[in-house]
Amino acid sequence: MKSAVQDYEAIKASVEAAANEHGEPHWFVDRRLAAIDAMQDLALPQVQRYDYHRWPLMDNMDLSWHRSDKALADSVPAATDQIRFVQVGQTTVAINLPDELDEQGVILTDIFSAFREHPRLTEKYFMDKVTKADENKLTAYHQAFLNAGVFLYVPKGVTIKQPIEAYLIQDSTVKQAMVSHVLIVAEEDSSFSFIQHLNTKGDEQNAASCMVEVLARANSNVHFSSVDELGEHTYSFLHRRANLSRNARFDWAIGVVNDQNTLGDFTSELIGEGAHSESKVIAVTTGKQSNGINNRVVNKGKHTVANISQRGVLLEKSELVFNGIGDIIHGASGANAEQENRVLMMSDQAHGDANPILLIDENDVIAGHAASVGQVDQNQLYYLMSRGIDKEQAQRLVIRGFLGPVLEDIPLPEVRQEMIEVIERKLEDGQHFK
């Protein structure tokens, strides 16, 4: 198709102009252009038993710069001495990093400043080591149209006790896709936790392409939580990937509570010997919403441990597919991979699926899985109601109980509480429309 190619040439020209106007380094502009070329031949990511190809995830092929109203970040809880990064659209509203961490070499900055100020780190690590632009069409799109994000660098041996919080707010008061990237480099023996909040302000229909890359070097200990709460006019693609070196420990605790369709693709790749990863995901779907989530662990190193635990709740006419993918590569002797995927159906018009997929190419391993699609535990419901609690609230409490094993794992009590509240609000909405 000649016209499509011409379109791509036009898009490349305008992206190049916008990137130059933005003062981006050459290496990065080149990567954008290469990604546009690559996009044309790449396929969409594969999600078993799930069809999303009609979603408007790449409608916006326009790279442009827009200053957002900082007042859109007013809903972010006030901070006193938290470690914080707040961004609305492309506009960084606050960066709060204690001086002593700065002195130790910790970097917390927006992604474009990082490209300019820390080229040695970013050129090497941005979409090159952990995840690649040419992995699929959506990752290439991300590289090509990146317009927001944050970079965190924690040097060797640095322990940060307080969690680092990032509020990434989509500005949908204007028509523009959110293409946001979180790049985290945890050097050897470092230790910290990172909490991300995704939100939307405004009612424009926009896509969100939100990526997280984590490089967890030898003996590092990193915990990543995310409260995904994008708006009802946002179709989202959430691509998250961590690479673990020798004896690294890395965990995901993710709550997918967006109000529109979401494609989630989460992977932990355990490369170094003795690495350990726990991958926990909660999802709640309502209305006619559809979520498809791949949660993948790859055991490459010997004696690696990688567990998946996913819990989903479906209301109304929604759809949720959980694929738990355990990939044990030849040579990963002594590896251990367990997974549990459970969904709870609150409506007989919803469609839920929990699929364990084990790909094992090594004999000396321990791998197991459990999956279920079930209804609310009547016995628990009865018990709560017998104390006077009405049926809807009792259901929400039982659901909380069902989600408990994953909620448990969120390190910060306030964030756990936030997650509970977001879930509760969503469940209430879903119950009222029943």
């Binding site: 009865y382 017998s386 104390r387 006077g388 094993p405």
Partner: protein, 264 residues
């Protein structure tokens, strides 16, 4: 004064698909607040069925008769409404719920009885909670744990009584609240129930052991066999049963009921 009346109650359960069995075969019972009643009876005779049916467990189908609370039939009311009207059932096997703390659950239960704009304050709640924890010799840590999760058998029973004290129902049905309790715990639990005694509280205590009734002295003792109350009397009846067993009473009354023991 509140009254709970059970009239000619017949209850069936569905054993398998389309296979029903009648468990209660015409139970009659009237109790008022201010009274403690005890029900004793052999295993499998329908004691838990009676308490679950009064509470409104949907597994039990009423085919005949009625249950009245202050003269009003409660058969059409859902469980939560019955609870808010003043009924409480301490269950033989309480459910466990991870992710919901005991304290949060207790507050939700108390608030369900109060109007939206007059929910209990944190201070008032904690004060009441501390008082009852002390009475039951329970640690505060128990209230921050998830509801019944990982509780020992005895801890669960104590927790049922804690709920009783916090919720303050008019009628408490206590199903084998003494089973699995050590001697100290038995005294503590009894102390809890006794502290509720008064004009505004009545209780129906299901037990297999006369010992509990030494601590919580009943006003009336009922014996249930074959899905019916076959004899009622005062506290002495429980003592007599303890020494003579159910077979003696059955034969004395000329009942045609088989007891589990007969098969031995």
């Amino acid at each position: 004064m509140a009254t709970l009346e059970v009239k000619d109650l017949h209850v069936e359960i569905e054993e398998e698909k389309d296979q029903t069995r009648e468990i209660l075969k015409g139970v009659n019972l009237t109790m008022n607040t201010g009274e403690i009643h005890a029900i004793m009876g052999p295993n499998g005779t329908g004691k838990s069925t009676l308490s679950q049916t009064i509470m409104g467990n949907s597994a039990y189908h009423v085919t005949q008769g009625d249950i009245l609370l202050n003269g009003e039939s409660i058969l059409d009311m859902p469980v939560d409404e019955r609870a808010r009207k003043g009924l409480f059932l301490a269950m033989q096997y309480p459910a466990e719920i991870q992710g919901v703390t005991n304290a949060e659950f207790l507050r939700a239960a108390i608030n369900s009885r109060r109007p939206e704009d007059d929910q209990i304050s944190v201070m008032a709640f904690l004060k009441e909670l501390d008082k009852n924890l002390e009475l039951l010799d329970m640690s505060e840590e128990m209230t921050e744990r998830y509801l019944n999760e990982g509780f020992s058998g005895g801890e669960k029973k104590r927790n049922e009584i804690l709920q009783l004290l916090m919720i303050k129902p008019s009628f408490a049905l206590l199903d084998e609240i003494d089973s699995g309790l050590d001697i100290d715990a038995l005294q503590v639990v009894s102390k809890g129930v006794n502290s509720m005694r008064g004009d505004n509280f009545g209780s129906l205590i299901i037990t297999h052991y006369q010992r509990l009734l030494n601590y919580i002295v009943p006003d009336v003792v009922h014996v249930m066999m074959g899905g019916k109350i076959v004899k009622s009397g005062d506290a002495e009846l429980a003592k007599k049963l303890e020494s003579e067993g159910y077979a003696g009473l059955r034969d004395e009354l000329g009942l045609d009921v088989s007891l589990v023991d007969d098969n031995r």
